[in-house]
């Protein structure tokens, strides 16, 4: 089995607060990997570390075969073109309209003609379920759900192998949230994506996730399928999955 991401013996410290200590994690190719845990347990921090937005204190993180604490500038650029990230609030570039947002990486990293780029943008917009005439809107003119979809379209612009999602369904109404789950499943199958997702949404976890990791007390206390979770004894798991197990 090939691992897309391997985290071993990770330690993260902010000031004198230890967030992760001896954290291990293995993410397989092609799966949807969910991370849950109590508030403040360091889920966002972990994802930021994988994305090279935050330094780690010790241990190693390997993403797509690169050891990210020991990587040169060119390798880092290669790696960044192979992943897509959906930030919690979208983080679309506010000075650009939707079309320009999605086209930006294509313009920067390829020498495709403007026409081809426009076609790719239209295609990406339509797979996430946005209409072609939304393309001229600016991020401030979009609803929360549209922002998420647009941001997803941007993260898919370069056909990444790996997709990071931080709380993709938070702030969405239940119907949009279920639509979003279905979209993620569909994209995984069409584009052969590996998805790493932080979530607090139980329904979304049950519907989409192949492997679930529970962070508690600075470590991964559970890593495995969602169905077996009931056999595991942990206070957070018991409260979180109450009613479901």
């Amino acid at each position: 089995m090939k691992y897309i991401i391997e985290v071993s013996d990770l330690k993260t410290v902010f000031g004198d607060k230890v967030v992760h200590d001896g954290l291990n994690m293995k993410i397989k190719e092609g799966e949807i990997y969910g991370i849950v845990g109590p508030s403040g347990s360091g889920k966002t921090t972990l994802v930021r570390e994988m994305l090279m937005l935050q330094e780690i204190n010790s241990g190693t993180i390997e993403v797509l075969g690169y050891n990210i604490s020991n990587i040169n500038h060119i390798q880092a650029q290669e790696l960044r073109q192979q992943w897509g990230v959906l930030f919690q609030a979208g983080a679309l570039f506010s000075s650009l309209n939707l079309r320009e947002n999605i086209a930006l990486p294509l313009i920067e990293y390829s020498d495709l003609s403007r026409k081809t780029i426009d076609e790719i943008v239209d295609f990406k917009l339509s797979i996430v379920g946005l209409k072609p005439n939304d393309a001229s809107l600016f991020p401030s003119q979009l609803s929360g759900g549209m922002k998420k979809k647009a941001s997803l379209a941007r993260s898919l612009a370069m056909d990444p192998k790996l997709l990071f999602l931080d709380e993709p369904t938070s702030g969405l109404d239940p119907i949009s949230a279920r639509d979003f789950d279905a979209l993620i499943l569909k994209l995984r199958d069409i584009l052969k994506l590996t998805v790493v997702m932080v979530s607090h949404d139980l329904q979304s976890i049950y519907d989409t996730i192949d492997t679930l990791a529970v962070i508690d007390d600075k470590k991964i206390v559970y890593e495995g399928s969602v169905d077996n979770i009931s056999t595991f004894d942990n206070e957070f798991i018991r409260t979180f999955f109450k009613g479901y197990i």
Partner: protein, 373 residues
């Protein structure tokens, strides 16, 4: 409401405090002063009687707690009599939380030396991070200039328009007024000595060499420096900068260098405009107040004002622009994840860039004077 009372009697060095009525935060302040001014020196025992109390809140409990602390410090017996369960529970609750908060407070208390050291250390870290910013800027500029294809002309032109073209009117008006004011003030003095024609030297030197560059820099610092900080700071809060980084777009190439270059290009042009407008303001006063015709003014100007003064003023432009842009952007990137931080950093960016411009100007003055220019 105001029906709380306290009666204090002293019997053989035993203090009896008899409370009555509703003790609430609305009406205990008088009782509190009574208790605080109480002289406990002679007493051996303090006895609190709550038998006539009908209501008791947390503020009153805090008052009782403080009194108890005082007595235990001076080793005086303390007793509460005829208190209902509500009252004793409330006092216990206060005691419990007081103990907790006091433990934390004690932990946080620092000596002045420690505070000073921490302040110095944080300044040192700030200095390091500014140096790191310069390093990144330098490396990125080199790789940027190395690849002509990657120069972002569109962004640079956009910034030139935003920060240069659109600033022309305000800079024109400001420098025209400055020229007017300086001329007006000197005209009065010059008239006294009948040295009217020297208005040309006074204005030419001061405006071309010092005033036009400084006024332009100050307007741009207030206008563009603050805009840079606020824009980039907001992009940090909305995670746009993070998104750029994960997409492999160096913020330095996309945000920093275009702004720095744009400002460095446009600043000398703005100073040139400020020169013209300042001199026009001066000429107007010279004509109205000193009867110097425009032809005479211009003839005299080309005779006595060497071109070097003009070039020195223009030469300062790119340096001032660099300082303003770099400080504004550095402060923008320093914004933390909260809105207050944008305000603080914008303020700092304007103050620091104006200060830096004036320092730089002083430095130039010394250098040019020593070089004899």
């Amino acid at each position: 409401m105001d029906n709380a009372s306290l009666e204090i009697t002293n019997k053989n060095n035993r203090l009896f405090l008899v409370f009555a009525g509703e003790l609430t935060l609305y009406n205990i302040s008088k009782l509190q002063t009574k208790i605080e001014t109480l002289n406990l020196d002679q007493s051996e025992e303090v006895i609190l009687d709550f038998s006539k109390v009908t209501f008791f809140d947390t503020a009153s409990a805090l008052m009782v707690y403080n009194l108890q602390e005082r007595t235990s410090q001076s080793h005086i017996e303390f007793q509460i009599v005829s208190a209902g369960k509500d009252i004793t529970d409330m006092i216990k609750l206060i005691k419990m939380h007081k103990d907790k908060t006091e433990a934390i407070k004690r932990l946080k208390k620092k000596s002045y030396l420690e505070m000073l050291a921490q302040l110095l250390y944080s300044k040192y870290l700030g200095f390091l991070s500014f140096m790191a910013f310069f390093g990144e800027l330098f490396i990125n500029t080199i790789s940027y200039i190395g690849r002509v294809k990657h120069i972002r002309y569109k962004e640079i032109l956009f910034e030139i328009n935003e920060n240069g073209i659109k600033a022309i009117s305000i800079i024109s008006i400001t420098s025209f007024l400055i020229g007017l004011v300086v001329a007006y003030q000197s005209a009065y003095q010059l008239k006294l000595y009948g040295a009217n024609i020297f208005i040309v030297e006074t204005l030419g030197l001061s405006i071309l060499r010092e005033l036009a560059p400084l006024i332009t820099a100050i307007v741009i610092a207030g206008r563009s420096g603050s805009a840079f900080t606020a824009q980039i700071g907001a992009m940090k809060i909305t995670q746009e900068i993070d998104a750029m980084r994960t997409m492999g777009f160096e913020p330095y190439k996309f945000l920093v260098i275009p702004r720095v270059i744009a400002l460095m290009i446009i600043m000398p042009i703005l100073i040139f405009i400020a020169d013209i407008m300042g001199m026009l303001g001066g000429m107007l006063i010279a004509y109205k107040d000193l009867d110097i015709s425009t032809t005479l003014f211009i003839d005299r100007f080309s005779d006595v004002i060497a071109a070097k003064h003009f070039f020195i003023g223009i030469f300062k432009g790119p340096f001032f622009a660099f300082l303003i842009a770099v400080i504004g952007i550095y402060r923008g990137l320093g914004v933390k994840d909260d809105t207050q931080s944008i305000g603080i950093n914008t303020k700092k960016s304007v103050v620091e860039s104006i200060f830096a411009v004036i320092m730089c100007d002083a430095l130039f003055s010394i250098i040019f004077t020593n070089l004899g220019i």
